[in-house]
Symmetry: C2
Subunit: 379 residues, 2 copies
């Protein structure tokens, strides 16, 4: 195996696949990255068994300056090999393997020889048929991910809740996550109806990594799903994630259909107020802030308190207050996550009673996105 390649193109590829490579794996060969050198392309692969990323650098793009002299495959220590490539002196580099998987990396006057591993021992990637795939607009898909992963559970006691539940039927895509204290649900209308229905749960961690991989110049992401794998195609890069096994709980019944109190806020203003109040609640053992609503006086006030440090009180400025009076307590960090996910917009917050979950929705297109938070009993 011998080839020359543009340093920058190679670094871009390495940066993509090393996202999937963990130094903490129990399978030693997975700390390496695999290079497959074919006549007109180089394929880079990284995997941690949960996520696998494969990207292709093609000879037909002149920017890649790829010239393959002989084909072959090798597994190289990922972190160390990336560090070397990034420090090379010239704009191109040459990689050549010799006996015993020794690999020589040369660039200008600099010559590295490192020990590789037999690529035949690298695990095979899952096989996913891509003939029935769903196309998603890249920016919308990134938004769906960022709005739902915030509510994913990070506790392994109920593994299914560590993922985001996707239900695709007709031309509707529903994405839901809940850690049982809060829930986030996004509803999207697809441009085309899907041929068959889908119902699957992807680990939140996979989605976060995938999201980082989708940059602004990417227009669309294609998704294919099998029994236990999802495959996302982003440009010349394939992203595989295992699916979570088991049945996701029925979340539709959790969302209240009616409410007694409705407040309307600028999301950024409310976020700033909650952030101030949480400064105090974070100093206290139970991280709770209190909201009181006096509808007749059109007054909504938040309180944060820490016996050791002090307290904070702030009158909010809702553009609308309707309904009963209320005193309700909640975890300000759930509220901050929820508010950040809306961006700068006008939202309505709907309450029932002090012990029932309350919801946040955009005032426009309110069916498309809902955040639900369970209050905390303080009496």
């Amino acid at each position: 195996m011998k080839f020359s390649i543009s340093k920058q193109a190679f670094i871009d590829g390495l940066n993509l696949v090393t996202r999937a490579i963990s130094t903490k794996t129990t399978i030693p060969i997975l700390t390496g990255l695999k290079l497959d050198v074919l006549q007109n392309k180089v394929i880079l692969t990284g995997s941690d068994a949960d996520i696998s990323i494969e990207t292709t650098i093609k000879a037909d793009d002149p920017d890649n300056m790829l010239a393959v002299e002989s084909e072959g495959a090798i597994v190289l220590p990922a972190r160390f090999f990336s560090d070397i490539v990034k420090k090379l002196p010239e704009k191109t580099l040459t990689i050549q393997t010799s006996e015993n998987f020794q690999t020589e990396i040369t660039s200008g006057q600099s010559s590295f020889t490192i020990n590789g591993l037999d690529a035949n021992n690298y695990p095979h990637l899952p096989e996913v048929q891509t003939n029935t795939s769903i196309n998603l607009a890249a920016d919308l898909f990134k938004q769906i991910i960022s709005q739902t992963v915030i509510a994913v559970s990070n506790q392994e006691s109920r593994p299914i809740l560590t993922g985001v539940h996707f239900v695709i039927s007709g031309n509707n895509l529903l994405a839901v996550a809940t850690d049982s204290h809060r829930l986030s649900q996004r509803n999207v209308t697809l441009p085309d109806a899907v041929a068959s229905d889908y119902d699957f749960v992807i680990p939140g961690k996979s989605l976060s990594e995938l999201s980082k991989m989708i940059d602004d110049d990417q227009e669309s992401v294609s998704l294919s799903v099998t029994q236990n794998q999802a495959l996302f195609v982003v440009g010349d890069t394939l992203f595989y994630s295992r699916l979570l096994e088991g049945k996701y709980p029925d979340t539709s019944r959790l969302i209240p259909q009616e409410h007694d109190i409705e407040l309307t806020f600028d999301s950024s203003d409310l976020l700033a107020s909650i952030e101030r109040a949480s400064l105090l609640s974070h100093e206290s053992r139970n991280n709770v802030i209190k909201l009181t609503i006096k509808s007749a006086e059109k007054k909504a006030t938040i309180f944060g308190n820490s016996p050791d440090v002090g307290n904070v009180e702030e009158d909010l400025a809702p553009s609308k207050i309707e309904g009963n009076d209320l005193e309700i307590s909640f975890n300000p960090d759930y509220m901050k996550d929820a508010l950040r996910s809306f961006g700068q917009t006008t939202i309505k917050v709907d309450f029932t009673t002090a012990l029932r979950p309350f919801t946040l929705m955009p005032t426009e297109n309110s069916d498309s996105f809902i955040q639900l938070i369970t209050p905390i009993r303080t009496f």
Copy 2:
């Protein structure tokens, strides 16, 4: 005590003095910052007993929007108070103390009440006479600090070596640091001769903090020294550091007066080569790289090696090689620190034998700055 002030001016002051405040102090009141409110100014003080910083916000600068209603002093929890001020909603804030050192911070609709401490219990800052002070150009002084602190020891076994030794006599300033493996010495001619000679050692940590405080729009720094304290005046801010006790070793005899081999390099090119070689040496137990010089062939080559991972070899491109042949080994990290401190310039590296220290100097004005590195015996 009651006053109003510009949030931004107050944050700038808080950012300055909180540099000196450690959460790990054994003196509880030093986790706080002291506010002294006088008729026409507010003084902020932070200290960790080694370093103290005091900055003044004056009413006569309209940007500060300072209005003092009543004088007084209070000590407030530094980190927490700073977090609150940074999150306040309006451009100004009001601070008012009441009974039992309770302090109210208001801005817009937001009102915080936090528990303060009696300012009478805050330690007094050292007294330093400033009538005989030395003026130093701010950018030059920052350069002296950055070029010497790299060689300061971080081992408490010989405390004196954790500081930078300053000797000021006539119109010459000499700054030296050594951790006994390497040495860095800077020599500067002052515009004016000093009235009396100075010889003192300032902790490297103090100098690093001080350097961060000096920003680009600062023209000069004034320095006053007593038996055990140094006081730097930077604009409206006073920076106190304790001095290290004891006699600094005589370093002048360590610097070789003659050499047998001389190489000239572009400092950035040599740095890049050393960085590549150190990738391998860092993977090995003894962090060493080897340099071989063959003067007749005009060839200088570096080698890095790690038995587990591989090796690297690179021909350097010195613009001049003169003298004997040599094979010498050294810690590449000392070399990298030294090379970075030169910036991009032409340097000469002078060797004697494989076991004698070698030196790096700029080719121009070579008396002003010298870096010395002790080689490592590998045979």
